[in-house]
Symmetry: C2
Subunit: 281 residues, 2 copies
């Protein structure tokens, strides 16, 4: 039997739990350790087979791990990475799954006292669901995992993070943390904001008239307000820029309707349809 790495997952929610299941499926990681301040989530993650052992002590677990993945809310990731880095061995890989990258990567690099194998990651497979009960071993299959190396990132960290995420089913894409945050502001953070803004308009008397279209368009609004308030705050400059782009486009639609400019309306709708059709289901 091939040697296995000890994997520590910090934060065993949907993403952390799915990392555990996918890591177990790969056969390359044992034991799989889980840390969370929510003991109920920890127990549930263990019952579901996401992790082998549980702990509420990050420092203890960090000492044992060959690979540490931090899957806590974005405003807590840097602190957890730095705590892990203080206690883990020099050859331990540390990465994360946060939806924002600039603040996290900068805070970690500022705070690292010694050289460590750290690289920021973001697997693009979120969900409005939350908690280990929704974890799936196939969550990362074929999904893009963005790695945000910097000038300070050791080549070995890139190599090992690539191997790790690929063993979970992911496909690796490298970009700067800045490019990541700008891109995800538009492809992920803006849709969440737009879905929430729309959902908020549905007063109770109208709920019966909200069919499939309204439900699809607002599905993201069911996401956790704490997680998302933190994401918007962490990525504020790029989110604001995306909101501005969206407001301008919305105003184009509004003006075309107000002036009954059917050719412009038709062009805007046709352009959107072309882009959406290319995305597929």
């Amino acid at each position: 039997m091939a040697a296995t790495d000890c994997l520590a997952i910090i934060g065993v929610g949907l993403i952390g739990g799915s990392i555990g299941l996918a890591a177990r499926r790969s056969g390359k990681y044992r034991p799989i350790l889980g840390v969370d301040r929510d003991l109920q989530a920890l127990q549930q993650a263990k019952v579901r087979g996401c992790i082998d052992e549980i702990s509420d002590e990050l420092a203890t677990v960090a000492k044992l791990a060959d690979i540490i993945v931090v899957c806590t809310p974005v405003d807590q990731i840097a602190a957890h990475v730095l705590t892990a880095a203080r206690h883990c061995r020099a050859k331990t890989l540390i990465t994360d799954s946060g939806s924002t990258k600039v603040n996290i990567v900068e805070a970690v690099e500022r705070g690292l006292a010694r050289k460590r194998l750290f690289i920021g990651s973001h697997p693009l497979c979120g969900s409005e669901k939350r908690g280990p009960e929704f974890a799936r071993e196939t969550l990362f299959d074929g999904r893009l995992v963005i790695l945000t190396a910097t000038e300070l990132t050791p080549a070995l960290a890139i190599h090992r993070a690539t191997t790790f995420w690929e063993s979970l089913g992911g496909r690796i894409w490298g970009m700067t943390a800045e490019d990541h945050d700008r891109t995800l502001a538009l492809t992920s953070h803006l849709p969440h904001l737009v879905g929430s803004a729309l959902a908020g308009l549905l007063h109770p008397g109208l709920a019966g008239f909200a069919a499939t279209g309204f439900r699809d368009t607002t599905r993201l609004a069911a996401g956790d307000p704490n997680l998302w308030a933190a994401i918007f705050a962490e990525n504020a400059p790029h989110v604001l820029a995306s909101v501005k782009l969206f407001q301008d486009r919305l105003e184009d639609f509004r003006k075309a309707i107000q002036t009954n400019d059917v050719p412009v309306l038709h062009r805007l709708l046709t352009e959107a349809k072309g882009i959406r059709d290319d995305l597929g289901n």
Copy 2:
């Protein structure tokens, strides 16, 4: 065997085709006649069993029908209803499936030379798909069908339209055409506009980073630009009012992010999540 009504479907797309399949399932309608200027759609609807006989002549079919349902684009419905009314028998029920109601109902009532059994209908079960190939006999099961009776609507039209849609699986809800258009502007037309505005921002280089969330939020943008330009134009006043509400809410989000007002951001997100959770899947 019980007597069956002759049903004529004008416009055999997704909705018209599904009406045919659901009507056949009920066993209460035979023959089912289809009219469409698109002969390929007509043939396909017949092959799929949506209709028994095809025609490109509305007048001919109107003479034979006990029930006529007009499922053409919203800017053509009133003209088709009036043509049908000129040729059908006095006891023939005429209704439609249009996503807007005020303009259609007003135009029909202005144009009807003789008293006719007409009532506006709107089954709330759209899709971004189009054409009889996506028709389903279960499309109306449990779905709300809005009937928009006016002072001029004969009680018999309400009664027979209710029986008709219920035999297809729908649940009836009565409201004025004005209330319908105001309500659907927010629950259906606005989501389409918002999804299209968002989809339009995804330039080609970003498509690879659009995961489930972006796809769900923009799903409606795949709808037919002709149909939707007509819907926005027909229901412009209410759509504009809904867009205004949405722009204001979006601006609340933007300001909260810009000023890093996390309590307000959290409240906006929590309110939206509560509403969305109540809607269910």
